[in-house]
Symmetry: C2
Subunit: 398 residues, 2 copies
């Protein structure tokens, strides 16, 4: 009953009703106070209060007490309101190089169930859709979850996705080029389907539940074995006319450089990802080294591993310096597993950014400076964002 | 009377009244039909019709017949509505290296009067404000214009301007670093003051009355003796946290390259502006050559001048390729005097863009392609945009 009610409030109710506005607001923001709801929705405090009474009575909204991590202070934590985790579920799907990951999450974005579908390289869309459907069914079955509470399906794709849902050729899964995600999953899953590039999903995760909560304008820069990114302006993802916005890994910094998988030369990804540095470390050490190994080695004082992190930071900072001269964002969030290196990465990266970008911190007031910080979600970020995509599509993100 | 009425409608009326909405819409869009007004304001056709009757009776709005350049067709041109040019004036000011230009324009953005105040390098803000005030007074006096009809003053600055109006150090006029434009001109001119970077002003001119009319998302790339730029997203200028967005000339494409006036190395401006190519032509020819000369020489088949235009196009296309991989905009407008070279510049520039950017035209549907076109206002664009800034500040641009 509660599930059907939440679904109808999120999907079917006119956007203008107080109940619809409040539920959509909570689906985007997680746990917030009545005062914040009033501010974010533009509804009068008394209207919010009346609507909340009804929503709490029907079990859609619950009261929760939480101390916000970002607020240091003493005393009783503020009472906040959140969607009832039992009121509905969302599915997040991440399409990567050779496998598909599926999660079922409640509306408070806690993962309830998770499956990985192993497919091998160049898997065809039709097969992927069928196996994904089976994996979702298993998730619901094994956890005795009612499928009727499913609110939507978000799909994270390792490549540019057009605003209409078409995967572009520059994707790392070549068999998906030109394929519309909605056309593939819609008929099979019989649910509302939302799709975005994986880095855009990461940005949604940071915006809804991470390092960018409350921030309407920021840039996400992901450093892992590849480089990805996302731009949020006025609270919305910038997708670009063909879904190619935020493709920071493919900024060409050397037109005479090595060939990149995208078909261009000298792309930033070749220098600012941790792929080549890992190869360098392995060559010197003579054994296989993972990203986790390299970061542990650097933390323990291995000069080679540390130098590789610093070199990656220098190139990432140089690329971000270019992005800074173009967008001059208030906030840059460093994501990807490399962010786990913390200050070993951030300090040289910030120094390189300062050197290469136009506006120098020393020349502007503190409030006009670009802040560069570590992301909160450096693992599972795309899957979490896919869940957020399904929730937020009923609200701020269009 | 009409002037006071327009001023009150633009400045004082609540934004929600039909008359206020229509007048602000016309101040941004120039001459449009009643149907377009209805679409843009969201007002019902009947509400627009009633309000227009009143506005025409009071002389604020007039009917005009014009054939839109963009629409090819035969038959009677459509009746359009515009603000009465006699209903008010705006002042546009452009602060450049060693002089200040002042224009007075009517609300249909026709220039009525123009003055240049010659100042010499490193002119101080106080002196500039006083001389500008005198020049404005002369403009009104000589043309018997009533100062009471002045709706606002827009200031275009050759350098980054923060959202609060502070000129940043990277400006080409060092004496203005850290100066707030509103603080300088506000007390002297006793008028509402709006300020923006000169390329942002050019973008406003293109958006309101040029090549970007009706386009909510585009990039402006100015090629002249320097390189400038602007980004418009969702109908608004992206200023950046410190006013540094759109500074395409200072994308560093070679960290080991020559020193730039901004203090960085290898900035795009050093390669994609026409400053160095002009020096090359002069060196070969042995006499002084202006930009106009060089373009005429190229059009007449001079291989050296043509090569210099092509080389500039190659670097501009490479820089735009980077911007494309970051923003993937639907439209790129080439401004600055170099745009007057037309296809001599655009053809190699488009080829270079295609080579260096991630999303290739051949891989996406025609409607997902980035269009690259020449701007409409390649001269007086900053001044025109300063006028637009004063008008549009009462509407779409915040």
């Amino acid at each position: 009953m509660t599930k059907q009610l939440l679904k109808s409030l999120l999907v079917d109710t006119p956007a203008g009703s107080p109940e619809g506005l409040i539920v959509r607001c909570l689906s985007q923001r997680g746990a917030i106070s009545a005062a914040q709801i009033s501010k974010l929705t533009g509804l009068a405090r008394s209207t919010v209060s009346t609507a909340l009474t009804g929503l709490r009575r029907s079990g859609v909204v619950v009261e929760s007490y939480s101390v916000d991590e970002g607020i240091k202070g003493v005393g009783r934590p503020a009472a906040t309101l959140a969607l009832n985790p039992e009121a509905g579920t969302c599915v997040g799907i991440h399409l990567s190089l050779d496998e598909i990951r599926v999660v079922v999450a409640d509306v408070s974005h806690s993962f309830i169930a998770e499956k990985t579908v192993t497919l091998g390289l160049d898997y065809p869309p039709d097969r992927a859709a069928k196996l994904t459907k089976a994996a979702i069914a298993e998730c619901y079955d094994e956890n005795s979850l009612p499928v009727s509470g499913l609110l939507g399906v978000g799909v994270s794709v390792s490549g540019p996705v057009s605003p209409e849902g078409v995967v572009q050729r520059a994707s790392i899964v070549p068999t998906w080029a030109g394929v519309n995600i909605r056309d593939v999953f819609g008929p099979v899953l019989q649910q509302p389907i939302f799709a975005a590039n994986e880095s855009n999903c990461s940005a949604i995760a940071e915006m809804m539940w991470g390092a960018a909560v409350g921030c309407e304008d920021f840039v996400l820069f992901k450093i892992d074995l590849g480089v990805g990114g996302a731009i949020v302006q006025q609270g919305r993802l910038v997708t670009g006319i063909a879904g190619g916005a935020g493709e920071f890994g493919h900024i060409s910094i050397d037109p005479a450089g090595d060939l990149c998988r995208c078909g261009n030369r000298g792309c930033l990804e070749l220098y600012a990802s941790f792929k080549r540095p890992l190869e360098q470390i392995e060559r010197v050490k003579g054994f296989r080294v993972t990203m986790d190994d390299a970061m542990r080695m650097a933390a323990e004082g291995d000069v080679g591993a540390l130098r590789m992190i610093e070199d990656t930071a220098e190139f990432a900072g140089r690329g971000l310096g270019i992005i800074g001269s173009i967008i001059n964002p208030p906030l840059i969030i460093i994501g990807g597993r490399m962010a786990l290196a913390g200050d070993m990465l951030l300090n040289p990266l910030i120094a390189a950014y300062e050197r290469h970008t136009l506006i120098k911190s020393r020349d502007v007031t503190p409030e006009s400076r670009t802040r560069i910080i570590k992301g909160k979600h450096t693992e599972n970020d795309s899957l979490l964002g896919a869940v957020g995509l399904a929730l937020s599509h009923h609200g701020m993100l269009k």
